[in-house]
Symmetry: C2
Subunit: 220 residues, 2 copies
């Protein structure tokens, strides 16, 4: 059922529709034909408002990231606020897995400064000396975006019909069956991989980074 054309086309309406399509069908499912049908126009019409598919994906990612950052609470310790920003982005990637590729590839797009600002303020509050603000903040942001992206990819990787548990179990079993010498480490962590919780694992990374920052820049 083609939706009736209530309002005229606009960049915002196009981006909103693109997000719906992406959430429902993934990046491969977003097509100018599908999108224009949903908007009750022709494919060419979209190009009046958006330069190309890449820009459309970028705009959709930005919208999702901005929405995620707005929920960020304005109080708590710097550590807690870093965790809050990180978890907000983690959940956003979880809800919209297609932004993962954009975040790790689209590199420092329009939405990224917001993330930098949100994280950087806590880095400053943590007592990191000014000359290391950029490095420290970037490291945190890179971890958050990179880890969230890889988590989303893992979640997507399951072939339809296979649950997360089945997939983890299969992979853990494969690891446990590796050669004893060449794989002396990997063999032993199969059951930890089977049992782990993605969110906890992600937060453990934040805690390692925060502990490292505290160790390198001890508060007075």
């Amino acid at each position: 059922m083609a939706p009736r054309r209530s309002e005229s086309l606009s960049r915002e309406r196009i981006v909103a529709a693109a997000i719906e399509v992406l959430d429902a069908a993934g990046e491969g499912g977003l097509t100018f034909r599908v999108l224009s049908e949903r908007l009750a126009t022709g494919p060419g019409a979209i190009y009046w408002h958006v330069a190309n598919k890449g820009e459309l994906l970028g705009a959709a990612t930005d919208a999702v990231v901005l929405a995620a950052l707005e929920e960020e609470p304005a109080s708590g310790s710097p550590q807690d606020r870093v965790r809050a920003v990180a978890l907000g982005l983690f959940d956003a990637v979880d809800d919209h897995p297609w932004i993962a590729a954009q975040l790790s590839a689209g590199a420092w797009q329009a939405g990224t400064p917001r993330i930098v600002e949100a994280v950087g303020r806590q880095v400053r509050a943590l007592g990191v000396p000014q000359r290391d603000w950029f490095v420290t903040t970037t490291v945190l942001v890179q971890y958050v975006l990179g880890a969230a992206a890889q988590n989303a990819a893992n979640a997507q990787a399951a072939r339809p019909g296979t649950s997360r548990e089945e997939m983890l179990d299969a992979m853990a079993t494969r690891w446990e069956e590796l050669g004893p010498d060449e794989w002396s480490f990997t063999r032993t962590i199969g059951d930890q991989m089977r049992d782990h919780d993605d969110r906890e694992q992600f937060l453990a990374g934040i805690d390692i980074a925060l502990a490292g920052i505290a160790a390198l820049y001890p508060p007075p």
Copy 2:
């Protein structure tokens, strides 16, 4: 000039040719038609050895990752060996930027266990208690892959004709011109972003993680 068909087709020859095309023309440049022309066959022939484009990209990524890990030295402190593995992957991504998308998306493919093994052995040597081996190793691997991927994306983002310096300078200037209140942090790190070195920045992340591990699991 179409190369003469010296040997018969094989998965290895196809993957090797794919890597050459990818290095020269990027992911968008890899086409079954281009590839088959280079191999002096028809596009259909490739499908006898490779299931589809995704599998081909995965195999190419694996080959590059395995080659990078083989250069890893077998001596040094655990910290230095973590740095060596990390830098090896960083450089591999730098030389073959197209693997970035694979590494952050292809999640735990065939090459990943090797990375886990290489990093995990050092985590073990660092004295991390066994019950935290999986989390700690995964955090390090996620940082390495995520940060390397984002660095590659940044390097690629420059439009042809723009140097890295020009791009960084333009971005730094944009940051410095942001509103004083809303962007009180981001405004101040423009010059650090202008001057930073990608490799050093990447290694700083490793050092923060190692410092965090040392703080959370103090050696006896």
